[in-house]
């Protein structure tokens, strides 16, 4: 079985030779073609090349077409800093006051240079014969957080909920256009990462974020794309809802109890994740990584579930530890 066959089969509920490996290897891919992090974020050809090499080297079942979480926000006017040795971040926010949201209007992919780059990278990655690309659309809460500042957005969501909804609607439009571009370049999979969404109460998540995330997954389905949701942090309180979004795969971080999550998801999606990326992959030896994945996998072997680090790996995670993930998944079968 090659990776494409494996991923398709597992999602369809058919037999596979081993569990698919969807580890978010993040900027560890930079070591593949010796690029630095700013190059990885700014030069799509180098990024795609690194991601494709990494997918083969690490025995992943997707090509990670992604680098950072600030591409969309940058388009809306957030100032982005690109430090030499770490991932870019918002250094100045586009919205000083949430009520200024009326000044913004929805942007298309073509208006945002680094988002166009991501589409080009996805298109190139789709030429790979044996592994599917899976491309990152940053989720609405996180894009809005990077436009307004997370702390302020959190307070705005209580003070000025209507204005926050307006901002979320605007950024969601960009994501919908992004999916259209992905579909046009022959993609089959995409993923939505929305780490900021897990900071809200279940009620606020339901009112503000879930309807926009749902719109994104609905559009994906209309376009023939299969979606995956990555919301790190403790999402226990919302799994009941995220499992109903229409994402085929929902990632869960290590603070979530897998058994409880499976119960809450009730078979509506495939859960994926649950290993601590630091304690069990970054700062340990390969044997520990292997044993941790294997133990989790064996515990839930009869479930239609996948196992990987719950969140992105640190840049300097040892290669042998990343390989140990694939080894353990092969043993789980």
């Amino acid at each position: 079985m090659n990776s494409k066959e494996r991923l398709d089969a597992f999602i369809a509920g058919s037999a596979v030779d081993r569990r698919p490996n969807l580890t978010i290897v993040g900027s560890t891919v930079c070591r593949m073609n010796r690029i630095d992090i700013p190059t990885y974020c700014k030069e799509w050809r180098r990024m795609e090349e690194a991601a494709e090499l990494a997918a083969h080297e690490y025995r992943l079942d997707f090509i990670q077409v992604a680098s950072d979480l600030v591409r969309e926000a940058e388009g809306y006017g957030t100032e982005v800093a690109f430090p030499a040795d770490r991932l870019p971040y918002a250094a100045g926010y586009a919205l000083e006051d949430i009520t200024d949201v009326s000044r913004l209007h929805p942007l298309k992919v073509q208006d945002i240079p680094r988002l166009c780059d991501l589409v080009l990278a996805a298109q190139k990655a789709a030429e790979c014969a044996d592994i599917y690309p899976m491309t990152l659309a940053v989720g609405p809460a996180t894009v809005a957080g990077n436009i307004r500042g997370v702390e302020d957005l959190m307070m705005d969501s209580l003070d000025e909920p209507e204005a926050v909804e307006e901002l979320l609607d605007i950024v969601t439009e960009t994501s919908l256009d992004f999916l259209k571009c992905l579909a046009e370049t022959g993609q089959k999979y995409f993923y939505v990462a929305d780490p900021v969404a897990s900071l809200l109460s279940p009620r606020m998540y339901l009112n503000l974020i879930l309807p926009r995330q749902k719109k994104i997954f609905d559009r994906g389905r209309e376009l023939g794309l299969t979606g995956r949701l990555h919301m790190c942090g403790n999402t226990t309180h919302v799994i009941e809802y995220t499992s109903q979004l229409g994402a085929a795969i929902v990632d869960i971080d290590h603070m979530v109890d897998y058994g409880e999550a499976l119960e809450k998801a009730a078979g509506r999606c495939i859960l994926n994740g649950n290993i601590d990326p630091v304690a069990d992959v970054f700062s340990c030896d390969a044997a520990h990584t292997h044993d941790t994945i294997l133990a989790l996998g064996q515990k839930y072997a009869s479930e239609k579930a996948m196992f990987m680090p719950g969140c992105e790996l640190p840049t300097t995670t040892p290669t042998e530890n990343i390989l140990a993930i694939a080894d353990a998944l092969a043993e789980i079968g």
Binding site: R86, Y89, V150, E151, M154, M155, S157, L158, D159, L199, L200, S201, M204, G233, H237, P277, V278, A279, F282, S283, L313, P314, T315, T316
Partner: protein, 210 residues
């Protein structure tokens, strides 16, 4: 509801303007500033801290409560100083080098201040040497370090090493925290204390000074 309960109630609901108005009114009526702080603001913030720990409220609610606490404190501070109310102790707090996350750090600071401990906040992305300098200048007995990235958490060890190199490691307690930090990690780098959340951090900090 008495005046303190009323202040705490407004704080818990994140109503900064209400808190300011009620604190001003209480002061005008001759209520002691220390009592307003300890029986009003601190009690309210403790309730929020506990609720946050138990997943009954979430980050937005804590942030607006913290904003309301700050509004109250701003009015109280000059009165507290005039009355000669001394802080229980001093702490230096910051997010370590390379890390810009400060929501958690700010909550920890707020809760620790609520315990009557003065916090010297060095902000984010802080060089170990600046922390050493701040400890020397202020005579703080507690250093609180936050890290949210797996790539920056070892920066907490760099601070401990810098404190050792400066010969002042045994004069301070080092408390570490942040999402990727664990008790095992804290032990590994030789920190004195780790807590999972801000409410527990405040309790542990207070215990050092009692």
């Amino acid at each position: 509801m008495n005046v303190f309960e009323s202040i705490a109630d407004s704080l818990e609901r994140g109503r900064a303007k209400e808190v300011s108005a009620k604190v001003t009114e209480a002061l005008d009526n001759g209520v002691s500033p220390e009592q307003i702080l300890n029986e009003g603001l601190v009690v309210g913030m403790n309730v929020i801290g506990e609720q946050f720990k138990n997943n009954e409220v979430f980050v937005p609610e804590v942030l607006v409560a913290a904003r309301a606490m700050n509004a109250g404190l701003k009015i109280l501070k000059p009165y507290l100083q005039k009355e000669g109310v001394e802080p229980v102790g001093k702490a230096v707090i910051c997010t370590v080098k390379g890390d810009m996350h400060d929501i958690g750090k700010n909550l920890v600071k707020m809760m620790i201040e609520g315990q009557g401990i003065e916090c010297i906040d060095l902000g984010v992305d802080v060089d170990p040497q600046r922390i050493v300098d701040a400890v020397k200048e202020s005579g703080a007995k507690l250093v609180c370090l936050s890290a949210l990235l797996t790539t920056t958490m070892y920066g907490q060890k760099d601070v401990i090493d810098a404190l050792k190199a400066a010969g002042i490691r045994d004069q301070v307690k080092v408390m570490v925290g942040g999402a990727p930090v664990t008790q095992a990690f804290a032990d590994e780098i030789g920190a004195d204390c780790y807590t999972l959340d801000a409410a527990s951090a405040a309790k542990a900090a207070r215990a050092y000074f009692d």
